[in-house]
Amino acid sequence: MSDSHHEESFWRKYIFSTDHKVIGIQYGITALLFLFLGFSLMMVMRWQLAYPDTAVPIVGSLVKWLADLNGFASDGNLPADLYNVFGAMHGTIMIFLGVVPIIVGAFGNYLVPLQIGAPDMAFPKLNMASYWVYFVGGVVMLVSFFLPGGAANSGWTAYPPLSDIATTGQTYWLIGMVFLITSSLLGSMNIIVTIVQLRAEGMTWMRLPFFVWSQLVTSFLLVLAFPPLEAAGIFQLMDRVFGTSFFLPSGLVIGGEILKVSGGGSPLLWQHLFWFLAHPEVYVLILPGMGILAEVIANNTRKPIWGYKSLVYSATFLGFMSFLVWAHHMFLTGMGQGMSVFFQTTTMIISVPSVIILTCFMLSLWGGSIRFTTPMLFALGWMPMFGIGGLTGLPLGLSTPDIHLHDTYYVIGHFHYVVAPGTIFAIFAGIYYWFPKMTGKMLNETLGKVHFYFSFIFMNGLFWPMLIQGLGGVSRRLSDGGASYAHAQEFLHWNVVMSYSAWLLAVAQIPFIYNLIKTLLADKSPNPDPNPWNATTVEWTDTTSPPLGHGNFEKTPVVHRGPYEYSVPGESTDFTPQTQN
């Protein structure tokens, strides 16, 4: 089945490859670079928040260069206009160019075909196309940084009317988004068809690893929720390019003058279409992370994951419900009470399956002989962090406390607890866990543990004070961190704590980057252990590390049992491969 015998050119093999494994790694590398960029923007912003209007150390000249290019005045400090750009682009890059591509594009692409025993994705050429469309979208976003007026500066939510009248960067943002949305749509259709059609013989629905389930639900969310945002993006492009008034109400006054447009539009329309995507998007971020954790936890507790069926049903229900809660982001838009009651009820309902999933993971630990490997540490760290993220979401989902908390740092804290220690920890767990599969080399455990402990500490140092500030009423998106507001004064010192945590968090990533590079450069053992973690799923047991060339399997696997048969009584080993008869 392997194609590796006949020579492929460098370009066909590594750049324009149709092999899902190569595409997965392409996604992974690109997305990691974008994550780094998004994080760097944040580190500069944290300087401005801790020490407003003072020159940024180390990269000050770079900030001044960019500010000059964009036409903002700067003496090496981060001017407010550029702060807005950084804020908007931090969110955009982290979510649409970083986390989604790595967790769906990289992990989904690389692992789904291997875990279900398929030779490749269902549409290999389409797969390549989705990566390159994503790449183009990323380039458009990057180019926009160098425009006069800078990149998009209306927040990652791009609310009109502000975004309708913003500088050219916003137009680039919209074009970039159309590319990214198209890429996600193509990629997720591919994943669904692969899972439905290419499961190996005997791989029934209830024998799928939970990771595959999470990718399936996620892909459905992407297919059905992204198009309305694409429609909204097209409307906003029309508003900006052709002067239409989809999002501009009549009589809008800007700078003391009535804006010369026909009016008759509705800013709320954007919010509807945006949040119709963006709420399911939250589950796009977290569900595949949960999928990774299920694999890691079962493997490292050496026992079946607790409540496999509950996990599957919860994930499916979660996906379904995520379409019914979007207006909890819009409680303050003057909606009727009936509507807010409906949406806060659905919001409370959707927390139930999340809690079930978290509970299943916690109960899986009970009675297990836990191996404290690096991926497991990240999984263990994930549980309380995601728990905090989830619990802090409840007050936001109820319309009354939301009046106080809306648009404060509390929202930022809540969201980052879900996505940063939530999703990013899952991503780290996944990288440490599957790195030996991708390369045939194990990452260094000691460096991994150093990476984990320090990341864990500084993530909390970074996000916990946000909750305190938010409860104190400090608004988000203030370029001076609240310094000009009387009520924020007693919370200002937290800005320094958070900023140092952010920079130290960056330092904590050095062992990780060093570990990656050092391991990649190290010699590979001639015959690496294909299954170093003693796992049961197909990708570990039926193929080499890294898997064979295009085609994955020497012999098409046939599946005989469920995914998590660890410590089965009467077996000679404590793991029973899915393909063992």
């Binding site: 259709m189 669904i192 439905v196 297919v223 309305p228 029309m238 239409t244 008034s245 329309l269 279409l273």
Partner: protein, 205 residues
């Protein structure tokens, strides 16, 4: 390396890969046009008069003149859908000549549709009814424009299947027939969207 179920049906789902793929694509298209229609509903219900009155007054009288064009275009699209499905039947009957004739008709119909659309657009723009004129015009141009882009995309794909793509008929006839079915599903969807655009944009004002 061969991807399984490219041509043959998978037993438990009864589908070949691209059939499922195109339906997922159409599902996302439904949601895309859903977003567009949702905007139409929200903006229309929020407007005091429909179509709104702008700088050049209301489009309503001009619109009455274009009903014959739009009706003609509706018939043309329906016809193209029928010839599309007949092209698929022709392949099932292994009649390549008939296939080329039917698919050719579909492409010609699509081109006629675009030409009529062009005259419609230029007439409106000439009279000052540009997208920025009012929210009706904005919706009109965005919705029909996006639909028009779908027609253009369809023409590209169908022209390929009519011309160079036909070589697959000799090597893998069944796979080629599947391709026509899948392309047809897309084409019928574009027709279906027009069936809704026609009354909401031209008739019910």
């Amino acid at each position: 390396m061969e991807i399984p179920y490219n041509v043959e049906l998978r037993e438990d789902t009864g589908l070949y890969n691209s059939k499922l793929g195109i339906w997922l694509f159409l599902a996302s298209e439904i949601m895309l046009f859903g977003g567009l229609f949702s905007a139409y509903i929200l903006l229309r219900t929020g407007a005091p008069v429909w179509p709104p009155i702008g700088e050049h007054g209301s489009i309503i009288h001009l619109l009455k003149d274009t009903i014959p064009h739009a009706t003609f275009n509706t018939v043309i699209l329906i016809l193209s859908s029928v010839t599309m499905v007949m092209a698929w039947v022709a392949l099932k009957q292994k009649n390549l000549g008939k296939y080329k004739m039917y698919l050719g008709t579909t492409i010609v119909c699509a081109l006629i549709f675009l030409v009529v659309k062009y005259f419609e657009y230029s007439h409106k723009i000439h009279e000052g009814f540009v997208p920025a004129h009012d929210t009706y015009m904005a919706l009109y141009f965005t919705l029909t424009g996006l639909h028009g882009l779908h027609i253009v995309g369809g023409i590209v794909v169908l022209a390929y299947l009519w011309g160079p793509g036909i070589s697959m008929w000799n090597s893998e006839p069944e796979r080629f027939t599947n391709r026509i079915e899948v392309a047809g599903l897309y084409w019928h969807f574009v027709d279906l969207v027009w069936i809704f655009l026609f009354p909401i944009l031209y008739l019910l004002n």
